[in-house]
Structures are given as C-alpha cells and as structure tokens.
C-alpha cells in the first residue's frame, strides 16, 4: 500500500510542473502585455514602460521567468495580483467558498434528480420514458451553459419573477462573511429572510451548473443498473419471491452505485470548468469568475496561481478516489 501511495505521489510532481508550464505558456501566447493593457489611448512613454516591465520581472527571458516562478511557488508564494495588488492566495481563499457552495448544490441537485431517473429508466427499459429520458439527457449533456443560463434568467427571473437574476443574496441584506458560505453566514445574520434570499439565489445557478452532471449521473445509473439487473443473483432474488421494489432498491442499486459514485467523484473537474461560465453569467463571486477576469486583464500571477490551485484540487480529489479504490480493490495496487 505504501508503495502504491508513493507511486501516486511521485506522479503528482510532474503533473504540477506540467500545469504551471502550460498556463505560463498559454497566457503568454495571448497577445497583449499586462502593463500596456492598462493604458489605453493615453499610451505610455517607452522609458516608463521599460521601468514598469522591469519591476514586474517581464523584461527577463521567458525561461528565466518560468524558473523564477517555479522557485517562488515551491517556496509557497503564489505571487501578488498585478491589478489589485493583493496576494493571490488571499483572493483565492476569499472567493473559493462561493464556488464550493455552488458546486455542492449543483452536484446534490444532479444526484437527487439523476439517480431516481436513471433507476426508473433501467427498470422500464425500452419504454417511451426510457427513450425520452435518454434523449433529454443527451441534450442536457451537450447544453451550452451561457445560453442555458441566460434562458433560465429570462424565463424564471425576468418573465415569471420567481427567482432573483444574479448574485448570492439580495443586495439589501448585509451579511458578515464568517465562513464565506452564504447559506451558513446568512443563518447567523440578524436579518429575517436572509437565508431564504440566499437559497433563492442558489436555485438557478445550481440547476444550470448541475445540468451536465445530472445527465451524466442519469445515464450512468441507467447503464449500471441494467448490467446488475441481468446478474444471476438478481434472478435468484426474484425467484425467491422478493418484491420488485426490494430487489431493485436493495439488491441491485447497492452494487450499481459503485461505478456511479466514481463518476460523481470525477465530476469535480466538470463542475469547476462549468463554474467558470456559470459564475460569469450569474455574477457569482467565485474563482471561475475571477479567472475569467484575470485573462481579460492579463493578470499573469492570478491566472497562473488560480489555475494551479484549481488543478491541485482536482488532483487531490482524484488522488483520494485512487486511494479509496486501492483500499477497496487490492488488484489495482500493483
């Protein structure tokens, strides 16, 4: 087991370097200089531009900039935003709870709706419900988030007026950010209705972000259930005279859940990717929104540091999944 863990950990370091190299190179391929981008029509005197570029270390050769950055990251310093002059780590920790809150709600939405739908489709295999559901789920999995988000806003917020348009809570509530999780912080606020407002603000973004995972979970549950329902022990259970519901929910589902849980674990990447778009549409102040801004402002430290942190998180989750697997299934440890 120890050897297995060591092998996994040794893979993490090259992945880290790969991620930093990729973000480092990609943002520099985008035309536009982080200093010049600030000046607009006014322009900047060449001497002053040289001075500011020197201060930001941008006058060094690229390889030197990259090595300096790696060294800085290795010593635990992610740098300071060129725009806000705040440490990248401070900004990340301030914004990350919003992304986690949204992602958790989205995945809960996906499971609560996707799992039962998948089970019903499997049990009623070949029925119009099954075909209908699979059709809808293909549509859901390929839904462009920006369009889907704006449609939801137009219908539910503007036309029907059921949900708020954007943000995490009504602007009229003043909530102290103790934990950064609005559902928890609004609970401690003195304002009546703050919690309700926070919940109502979560509904649309969670649905939009949860749509793709929902489709994936429903499809995965259906196919896993179908496989299990054809197993001999199910037939045995049925032959023993057990009720249909009991066979499906107790005997079949428990085994079918194993691949489904894995897929849910792997949705972390999808959620964080989707969060970038969802947060931008709903003005949700999370890390996705923050990263998009940093590209537009050519804020190299924020983009590099932010992507690195998000990638670390995905790696951490995958590592956790791997470990659990290794623990549960000795065969893959080799």
């Amino acid at each position: 087991m120890l050897q297995f863990i060591l092998r996994r950990v040794s893979l993490i370091i090259p992945t880290f370097i790969g991620v930093t190299l990729l973000t480092f190179a990609l943002i520099r391929l985008v035309p536009g200089d982080p200093i010049e981008v600030r000046f607009g029509e006014r322009g900047i005197a060449p001497e002053r531009l040289a001075e500011l570029r020197h201060e930001a270390g941008l006058d060094q050769p690229l390889w030197k900039q990259f090595l300096d950055y790696e060294e800085q990251v290795a010593s635990g310093d992610l740098g300071t935003s060129v725009v806000t002059k705040q440490p990248v780590w401070t900004e990340f920790t301030e914004l990350f709870p919003a992304t986690v809150e949204l992602s958790l709600c989205a995945i809960i939405f996906a499971i609560v709706i996707g799992l039962p739908l998948g089970i019903i489709a499997a049990v009623k295999r070949g029925s119009p419900f099954d075909y209908g559901l699979m059709g809808v789920s293909v549509t859901g999995a390929s839904m462009p988030i920006p369009w889907w988000g704006l449609m939801m806003i137009l219908v539910f917020s503007v036309e029907l007026g059921w949900t708020p348009v954007s943000g995490r809570i009504s602007d009229l509530f003043y909530v102290e950010p103790y934990t950064g999780f609005m559902l928890i912080d609004s609970w401690f606020s003195d304002d009546d209705g703050a919690v309700l407002s926070a919940i109502s603000h979560l509904i649309l973004p969670a649905i939009v972000l949860g749509t793709i995972p929902l489709a994936t979970v429903a499809r995965m549950t259906r196919s896993a259930m179908l496989e299990v329902l054809n197993e001999d022990y199910i037939r045995t259970a049925r032959a023993k005279g057990l009720g249909g519901m009991r066979v499906v929910l107790v005997h079949a589902l428990r085994n079918a859940l194993i691949p489904v849980v894995t897929v849910i674990g792997l949705q972390v990447g999808t959620l964080l990717g989707g969060a970038i778009l969802t947060e931008t549409i709903f003005s949700w102040p999370g890390v996705g929104h923050w990263l998009v801004e940093s590209v537009q402002r050519r804020d190299y430290p924020v983009l590099q540091g932010g992507v690195l942190l998000v990638a670390s998180l995905v790696m951490l989750v995958n590592f956790g999944v791997d470990l659990t697997y290794g623990f549960l299934n000795p065969r893959i440890r080799r």
Binding site: E55, K85, L154
Partner: protein, 534 residues
Amino acid sequence: MTYKAMAAACALAAFGFVGASSQAQAAKTLVYCSEGSPENFNPQINTTGTTFDATLQVYSKLVEFKPGTTEIQPGLASKWDVSEDGTVYTFHLRPGVKWHSNADFKPTRDFDADDVIFSFERQWKDDNAFHKVSGGSYDYFNDMSFPKLLKSVEKVDPLTVKITLTGPNAPFLPDMAMDFMSIQSKEYADVLTKKGKPDQIDQAPIGTGPFEFVQYTKDSTIRYKAFKEYFGAKPKIDNLVFSINKDPAVRLAKLRANECQIISFPNVADLPSIKADKTLQLQEQPGLNIGYLAFNNQKKPFDNKLVRIAINEAIDKKAILDAVYQGAGQPAKNLIPPTMWAYNNDIQDFKYDPADAKKKLAEAGYPDGFETDLWAMPVQRPYNPDAKRIAELMQADLAKVGVKASIVSYEWGEYRKRVQQGEHQAAELGWTGDNGDPDNFFVPLASCAAARPGGGSASKWCDPQFDDLINKAATITDQAERKKLYMQAQVIMHEEAPFFLIAHSVVFMPMRSNVSGYVMSPLGKHQFDQVDLK
C-alpha cells in the same frame, strides 16, 4: 386597573414596534448595478472609470467638478488664489471637515494641510513611506506631468497650502479636480503603519466624502452608508450598494426586476425597449470623447490638404452613425465634444459630396484615386462601437471616388504602438477626456509635441500656427481669453482637416422611474449623493 395597565403596555409595545418598523422602512437603500470590480480603493494608483466610481463616493478633492458640468467648484478648499504669473496657487482649506472612521481608525483631528501634503507626496516622492504601498505606480500623476509641473507643495498653516509650479499652466485647476488628486488621511496612514498593515489604506478607504465605505465583497458588492458629518449637502439616501454585474443583459434584467435602481452601460440594442418600458426612465448625454479616422499627415497622399478634404467629403458620416452608432452617437465636427466650454459651434462640417471629392482629388494630382491602408481597432471603445464595420463602410464610400483602401488590424496594444510610431496612412482611433479641459484633447491629439514618432498623436499633424494657439491657451488662466484662442484653433483645424471626425458617442443611464436627482456627468462619473427614491 390591571387591564388598563396591560392595555397601556400593549399600546406602548405596539407603538414601539410600529416606530421601529417604520424606522426600518425609512432607511433608503439605492442599488446601482455597476459593470465591474474596482482594482482597489485608491484612485491615485488606478486609471479605470470603474475604480473612480467606487472611490468617488468616499473621497473629496481640493476642488470638484460641479455636478453635470466640467466647471470647477470649491471642494476641500473653500477658495484659492492664483499669483499674477500663474505659477503659485494658494488653497484655503475648509475648516471643520470630518474624516470617516472604521474598526481600525477613529480620527482624532479634522482634515488639514498635512493630509494634502501627504496625498501629494505619496504619489510624488520616492522616499514617502507610502510611495511603494499597493504597487506604487501613479499613472495619472505622471501622465498629467505633475512631476515636471510641481516645484513645491508647502504647508503655510494648518488650513493653507501653497503649491508652486515650474511654469504657468491653466489646466492645473481641472487636474486638481481629477480623481487621482483625492485626499487621503495622513493620520489613518500613521495608524495603519503602527498596526503593521499599511496596504489597508487602499483596501478599506477613509475619506471625507458623502458616503462611508462599509464592506467590499470581491466581485459581488460594495456597500456604503451616508456620512452624517459630511461637509457638503447631505446624501438623500441612507445606504448605497454597488452590485457588480459584468453582463449588460444581466444588469438590465436586474433593473427590470427592481433588484437595482440604476445601471451603467446598457446594450445599445436594448435602448428602444428601455424607452418603451413605463417603469423605467432613460437619461442620455454626449460623452466627453471623440472617435475619428486620423490621416497620417506626414505620409503621402495625406500630406496634401486637398486629399484630406476630399476624403472628408467622400465618406457618408450619417450612414456610419445610423448603421454603427444606432442613435448612440452625435456627428462630430470639432475634435472636442459640444459639452465643452471652448466648443466652436460656428464651424460647418464638410458635406457628403462624392462628386466634389473626385474633383478635389483630380486637382491634387490623383484623378484616378490612389491606394491606401485603413486601420481599424480590434476592440470596442466608448467612442467607437465597431471600428471594423466603420472601416468597411468607409472602404465602400472611398471606392466610389476611386480610392482603394485595404483594411488593416493588429492586437490592441500592438495597434496603438504602431499608430504612435506613425506606420499607418489612415487609422481609426479616439480619445476619452479626463478633466473637461480643451487642453486635454488638443495637446495629446494634435500638438506638434505629440506628432513625433512614438508620440500620442495619430494624425502626426504639426501646424505651427495651431500649435502656438493651443500652447498659449495653456498658459493663460482667464477662461474667456483662452476660449478665444481655442475658437481660432478649431477654425484652423477645420480648414486643414487632419482628421475625418466621426462621432462623439452618447452615454445612456437607464434607471427606475422612481429615481430622482440623478445628474449625468459629462466626465462619465457616477455620483449618487443627491439621488433620491420616491
């Protein structure tokens, strides 16, 4: 007796309750849906309108722009004297001006000369303890040439500051009303230094303005509350909230849902539906900007005045305004916008006349036209919503008089650099004014100094007579005298036609119909202290 006492208690309680709830209702909160997050809360360091809007509520300056105009009025200085030669400004500071407070800072003294000196020196002197705080790049202070312009800033007494310039400079006063000259508290800086967190000065701002800063949630909201001890007219609302929404469609949706009462920068395409909506109102004003096509006056064939005039007659300006600006633009005939005090309204714009244009081209020695490049910016700018589309319209018009234009574009930073170097023959560009002074348009865009390679002028036009007029106007403090000189200068510019002037874009502010007292600023500032909700 007991019943009576109980009834009285109930009545009192009910009264108290009603009192409390009506008090809660009476608190007026205005939500403004803004377009982006401020970089931080220091207008000395940053150059974006978004940051200026966020800090404008908190800080005051020595002099201020009168709301809705580019005129100067007293601010933290109640009056000022200018020496005969125009080089010494003595500001008499307003007594009894209170500073805001927060958890870290309770002011022990009123605003005084030390604060003014501190605000200058932080930007000016390398050895100031706060010079390097928050990255320490003071772009506007440098852009407005303050390091060259300032000779000394001295405290005469606690309520008098004497500023000596290296030479007379009329735009100095409007410069002092710009956001980068916001006054910060020296005492707050000292307290933060002692506490070991100097950078808080730009994160949790302390000012003397109409609103106190309460809280900023990154990329989400900025909260302010009315400052009860503000020296000017007290704000009409109790709380002000900036709700940050990048997408204009989302901002409009929030306005319609009454989640905000005023929004910034609507989509032009949404304007008709906003006008039609009875629950909304729409204010508009020409922006302090100009979009133009600059001819490179140092390159053939645009070194010939006849050619420049011919092109001015060959392009259908109205068609561009209709197709691209869609009602959000005003045709331009002068470099400066009509809201400026020096605007020459007597100038007659060139008429669209392709036949005459052809004649002039033949006269200039180009009977069959010529080939030219036509540069179009890759980005949308406040003064030009779609440079590429405009270039295509121009290209079609020019083809009609035999001029073959090929459209060129580069990445935005590269584009500006190459235009400044004068690599183009004709290039679209524009300008947004900073302080409402004509000098702020004429010198960067059309002076001989800016026409050198690498200088800001895209026309590379240098007319000694014009240059004399604008340089002289910059040294006189009497506005009527200055106006005369600028009026003449505009006549010369029209005759020489170094640009094809396209438009001044119109800025729109949609708001709920119950909003009153909002005054649009020609400088594009968003100020809320006199706004009320009916």
